[in-house]
């Protein structure tokens, strides 16, 4: 399934949620097929260990089943679902005391290309994956939500449970760190 299609088919998602709320297991199965892969991809940015990520992603889908009746329709279905995923992933990290990275340091911002410009030059999925892997889980999350899930800043704030102003700051520094990582990768390639 594709996230873009999931966005386009918001009406379908809502119809499925209504049926799930009524206890329709076939609707849940359809919902799982549409979203399980995307949920797992999102969770893996926060919980890199594959088995743990699958456990969390499975818990998210069960929570959708149990919580469908409480879905109020005040947000996109995907925003609601990713909010559940965020909370469950954070809970797991807290429980396991996974290593945290420093966030949003206030160092001055040097000039340089936008990450997108570097991507245009390299256009390499492996390059992006390697660069994203160097980011903190929080930075990975905001970039993934913004670019991968087409979320607005308000939606990211809702999913991550942080103010919109913090989202803006976090995106700003995440892009800077991504650009630095991409630069470093390109420089290494030149030297090689």
């Amino acid at each position: 399934m594709g996230v873009r299609r999931a966005v386009v088919n918001e009406d379908l998602d809502r119809a499925l949620i209504d049926r799930i709320a009524a206890g329709d297991e076939a609707a849940f199965s359809a919902f799982y097929e549409r979203h399980a892969r995307a949920v797992l991809a999102f969770v893996r940015d926060l919980v890199p260990e594959p088995a743990a990520a699958e456990e969390v992603a499975g818990d998210v889908m069960v929570a959708v089943w149990r919580g469908a009746r409480r879905f109020g329709g005040r947000s996109r279905v995907s925003t609601w679902m990713l909010g559940i995923a965020h909370n469950k992933a954070i809970d797991l990290r807290r429980r396991r005391r996974l290593a945290e990275f420093p966030l949003d340091d206030a160092a001055p911002i040097p000039g340089g290309d936008d990450p997108a410009a570097i991507i245009v030059r390299s256009t390499d999925r492996a390059t992006l994956d390697a660069a994203v892997a160097t980011l903190s889980p929080e930075h990975r999350e905001v970039l993934q939500l913004m670019y991968g899930f087409d979320c607005t800043q308000a939606e990211i704030a809702q999913i991550a449970g942080i103010p919109v102003a913090t989202v803006k700051t976090r995106v700003f520094y995440a892009k800077r760190r991504l650009r630095d990582a991409l630069d470093a990768h390109q420089n290494a390639e030149h030297i090689a």
């Binding site: 399980a36 892969r37 995307a38 699958e54 499975g58 089943w65 149990r66 993934q144």
Partner: protein, 191 residues
């Protein structure tokens, strides 16, 4: 022109690792268990003339109403497990709200409000402090006939009374709730 960063992040999501068969099996097994539980609760609601939702100290209720009210006609279903009450609150005919429960944890303090908000207009609400809880149960007993008389539920109630830690108490409350419902169903079906 599309944003290359956006395209690549989309690809990260769409081409990410597919969920394993194990994840699928575990998820659908959990959903199936949940669905059976829901059917079980709904069945209990159908056979009960009155549905009492106990908010706070529900486990104590099962303990107190055990064999003291033996009767062939069980007309009240106690539904208490934390987290399930809000979902079925609209079915309640009586909501017993026990305040000042000594062992109330954060979860217990949070969900009663949701439950109460969702109860229908026909529900009779009885709010009592914990100190008057036993009296309130006696009053409830007069509204219908209470029964939770299997050895299993008595043992569970006794274990609950002895249990000290919250996790054990919560687990026992859940087991008691379902045991009670099971008694209801068995009685009604003649098994």
């Amino acid at each position: 022109m599309s944003d290359p960063l956006e395209d690549l992040f989309h690809a990260r999501v769409e081409d990410g690792a597919a969920p394993s068969d194990l994840m699928r099996e575990r998820t659908f097994a959990a959903v199936a268990r949940d669905r059976r539980g829901a059917q079980f609760r709904l069945a209990a609601l159908r056979v009960a003339a009155a549905v009492v939702i106990v908010i706070g100290g529900g486990g104590l209720a099962f303990w107190l109403v055990r064999p003291h009210h033996p009767a062939p006609d069980d007309t009240i279903a106690f539904i208490q497990p934390v987290g399930t009450a809000p979902a079925i609150a609209h079915e309640a005919t009586i909501v017993l709200i026990v305040t000042s429960v000594p062992d109330a944890d954060a979860t217990m303090r949070r969900w009663p409000q949701t439950t109460v908000q969702r109860t229908g207009p026909r529900a009779r609400r009885i709010e009592v402090p914990a100190a008057r809880y036993r009296t309130a149960l006696a009053q409830l007993a007069q509204l219908g006939t209470l029964r939770t008389t299997t050895e299993h539920t008595v043992n569970l109630g006794a274990a609950l009374a002895r249990a000290k830690d919250g996790a054990t108490r919560a687990a026992l409350r859940h087991r008691l709730a379902y045991a009670h419902i099971e008694v209801n169903l068995e009685t009604r079906s003649g098994t």
